[in-house]
Symmetry: C2
Subunit: 228 residues, 2 copies
């Protein structure tokens, strides 16, 4: 069975790729450039991960209208990328309005054309940034939209293998599956060395610490996010 | 209250605009270029209709990835635009896979940023081409996705004022509201004179005939689609 991976190049989508590959799916990978600050770095990660897993069928999408629409510190350069506050439950300024619905819609369009029946997305609900479009209930509702909005003979379903995992469990899973973490990129802010202090770096560093593993990528600064 | 119009420039989105304006909404209009054959002509219609209704807040989106994905005679130049068969119940080759979900997702992203609470789309279920993403049930499911996938303080809803109307009723409604049909464009195939024989022209011509009105745009050929 053919599956589409939504592959940003971050650690979650990397581990999702490893899981889908191990499960025996024929893989096609999709990446979206949407005017985010670290666009080129993420694209490089996407390509490196695809090559690692020998994924030939790839789609690189230009969705710079999301940058034009703005409303997020990831795409609006006048909004600063905030330093992480892992205790807060507010939706952070990095939230890109309704982005995941847009990405899933693109993936479903492609799935209808290439005959894929599964769409893998590395969304994490339990231990995440608090984005509304990373919740299991959102993906269940989206699957209903797919069922109703596609040709009756198609059977396309979004799957979220990481949704209920803690971030450290994702690291462990990746290590177990020999996922090449060195190729992945999570930082919201920098393209050279990861900043180590944005929400995404903080969640990643804490996850590696909690998993008792060393993150192989390079950081500008590498704070501790758990008590030792 | 602010509302976003999904305005392709066809007769349905034109009449939807007229309805939303009459209802007193503050209007913002969005148009998507997606590599469709009549892209330039539709864009001209969008702009003319916006000017007619004095809509200042406009967003023109480039979504040419839909053309790249293909799967439709509207975007894939190697697939012919078929001559209409208004008796058929099959999904026609002009169906662009899951397009409306993509357009709605973009509109919701924009709505979150500009504070719009309604999204108007001129989808028609009763008397249409049989596209799965033009059914009321699809929009109901999409509204659930919006509710779950946006910030909790937002209240965005897709509304479909034409969904249960016959096409001739849409013509009548447009005439009643003085909608400038001469500015609208429906043909799937041509940018100069409308072809008169594609699905979209056939539905439009039949609608004007049934409404007992003359369509003011120019046709290459103007067949009768109802018995006189």
């Amino acid at each position: 069975m053919k599956a589409i991976l939504l592959l940003s190049g971050g650690m979650d989508s990397l581990v999702t790729t490893a899981i889908a590959q191990q499960a025996g799916f024929e893989l096609a990978a999709m990446h979206v450039n949407y005017g985010q600050r670290t666009m080129q770095r993420e694209l490089n990660s996407f390509r490196a991960i695809c090559s690692h897993y020998s994924i030939q069928q790839r789609l690189e999408i230009n969705a710079d209208f999301l940058g034009k629409i703005g409303g997020s510190s990831l795409t609006d350069l006048s909004m600063p990328v905030s330093v992480a506050n892992l205790e807060s439950h507010a939706i952070p300024a990095s939230y890109v309005p309704f982005r995941n619905a847009g990405f899933l819609s693109m993936a479903v369009s492609w799935a209808e054309v290439i005959g894929a029946e599964r769409i893998f997305i590395g969304a994490v609900e339990e231990d995440s940034s608090g984005y509304p479009d990373c919740r299991k209930i959102f993906y269940e509702a989206f699957n209903r939209v797919i069922e109703l909005g596609t040709k009756p003979e198609t059977h396309i379903e979004v799957v979220t293998p990481l949704i209920a995992l803690k971030k450290w469990e994702i690291v462990r899973k990746g290590i177990e599956l020999h996922a090449p973490f060195a190729f992945s990129w999570s930082c919201y802010k920098n393209e050279g060395q990861a900043c180590g202090v944005c929400d995404s770096c903080a969640l990643r560093l804490r996850a590696f610490e909690q998993a008792g593993m060393e993150d192989p990528i390079d950081y500008e600064t590498r704070p501790h996010y758990i008590d030792c």
